[in-house]
């Protein structure tokens, strides 16, 4: 009798957990869909952002025309290597 009662309780608990698991699974699905949807919209917004606000900034290049040759003299690859090296040094 007691064993039976225990089994019933245990079964009831398991069913509870089963329902919770189902809820957790649906939360997992809605959650991931939600995160992807939100960030996809953000991707769209950011790619439009470059159309609106990208391109040349009007005031800056005129202010320091003398500096431009110096900055174009360094290749992008060099800048990348130097900045990565600095970052790596700082991370130590």
């Amino acid at each position: 009798m007691i064993n039976d009662a225990k089994r019933v309780v245990k079964k009831g608990e398991n069913m509870d957990i089963g329902a919770l698991l189902l809820e957790a699974a649906s939360l997992m699905l809605t959650g991931m869909v939600g995160v992807f949807a939100f960030l996809s919209i953000l991707i769209f917004a950011v790619s439009k952002l470059s159309l609106i606000a990208g391109g040349d900034e009007p005031a800056k290049p005129q202010r320091q025309p003398t500096k431009r040759p110096a900055s174009t003299g360094v290749s992008n690859a060099h800048i990348a290597a130097i900045s990565a090296a600095i970052a790596q040094y700082r991370s130590k």
Partner: protein, 376 residues
């Protein structure tokens, strides 16, 4: 004689209990990890010390009337401290790598699978006798996978305050362990050729784009996910102060003095939740295991997403950068850079990994907002 007896009754020695001593040892352990091993010292020092203070017998620092009780009540129960920290993090974050390559947001989204898979795992743990996690508890535990301290504390304070101590300790410990947890997973899921992939130089991002970006993010949060707007809003405020260039004083305060002050009290308040009755439970063990699981799954799903994107993208994408999708800024990006250099000494992935890394911060804030909206 009575006086002497009363004095003895008022000493710590007469009132020590074993669980309190164990918790003091845990506090000392956290201090050791912070001071000797350099694990997240800014947080683990106040948390560890707070744990010691909390468990002092008789003094009752974490009970109503005690200092730590009020620090917790004012700062964490209200949700204020994590949000102030988030403002400071926003003021420290440079989004240009993400604006230059917005598709990296997908990696930040994929890595949040660690959160939702762990939610499932936490509920499944209920089959083990001794565990009784509700959906709220499970959500608060799962957010450890977001690898974002303030977000985890914010969500835990709203959904499962009694588990907050264990969740915060797990989140910060695993964030410190990112360089140990992530590389084996990254190596196991990628081939050597994958890891050697070099990515094209990122384009220049204008100041105007950087100013509009936080406003755009906030606009989307307002429209689609208002429950995430406390986190996203404070983050965007900090970022706007940084990028707009006219309030450098405020930006500097947010990312230095203010965040430091709040960090001290946040740590103490988390420490106040490390009392023996709340921490020395089988649930804490479960939380530690689930936290590690959440980090690993997040890392793996980020790498998988990056592999898929590499297949369909015009420009090559190194799958390693996917691992940076679990926020933990900037530690995860540095780990990516390090693993990348092991296979190709000319391959500097740091800037490329910063994109998914900051996307991970946004992703975990969004995931927190979704959890708040659905189970809060």
């Amino acid at each position: 004689m009575d006086g002497l007896l009363n004095l003895w009754q008022a000493t710590g020695l007469a009132n020590f209990t074993v669980p309190a001593l164990v918790m003091m040892a845990v506090g000392c352990g956290l201090l050791y990890l912070a001071i000797a091993k350099g694990f997240e010292p800014l947080l683990l020092v106040p948390i560890g010390f707070g744990a010691i203070l909390t468990n002092i017998p008789v003094a009752g620092l974490a009970e109503p009337g005690g200092l730590l009780y009020y620090v917790y009540y004012i700062g964490i129960d209200s949700g204020v401290f994590p949000l102030l920290i988030f403002m400071g993090v926003g003021a420290m974050t440079d989004f240009s790598a993400l604006i230059a390559n917005p598709r990296m947001l997908l990696l930040g989204a994929a890595a949040q699978f660690g959160i939702f898979a762990t939610l499932f795992g936490a509920i499944a743990l209920n089959f083990v006798p001794g565990f009784e996690f509700t959906l709220q508890d499970a959500s608060a535990i799962a957010i450890i996978g977001g690898a974002d301290g303030p977000t985890a504390i914010f969500l835990a304070s709203k959904l499962a305050p009694e588990l907050l101590g264990a969740i915060a300790v797990a989140a910060y410990s695993y964030m410190a362990l990112v360089p140990i947890i992530q590389p084996p997973i990254m190596r196991a899921l990628t081939s050597e050729e994958d890891r050697k992939i070099e990515m094209p130089q990122l384009r220049h991002v204008t100041k105007r784009e950087k100013i509009i970006f936080p406003l755009a993010v906030l606009g989307l949060a307002i429209m689609f996910l208002p429950s995430a707007s406390p986190l996203v809003g404070m983050f965007c405020l900090g970022n706007l102060m940084r990028e707009c260039g006219v309030v450098d004083r405020l930006s500097n305060t947010a990312q230095n003095e203010l965040i430091n002050i709040v960090t001290i009290f946040l740590g103490l308040a988390v420490g106040s939740k490390l009392s023996a009755t709340e921490f020395l439970t089988v649930e804490t063990l479960g939380i530690l295991v689930l936290g590690a699981l959440a980090f690993s799954i997040g890392t793996a799903s980020g790498v998988f997403m990056a592999k898929i994107m590499n297949k369909f993208s015009k420009h090559p994408i190194n799958p390693l950068v996917g691992a940076a999708g679990v926020s933990a800024v900037p530690m995860a990006a540095r780990v990516v850079n390090k693993v990348g250099l092991e296979n190709n000494p000319h391959n500097f992935l740091l800037m490329h990994a910063m994109g998914p890394n900051v996307a991970g911060v946004l992703g975990s804030a969004v995931a927190a907002g979704i959890l708040l909206a659905l189970v809060g």
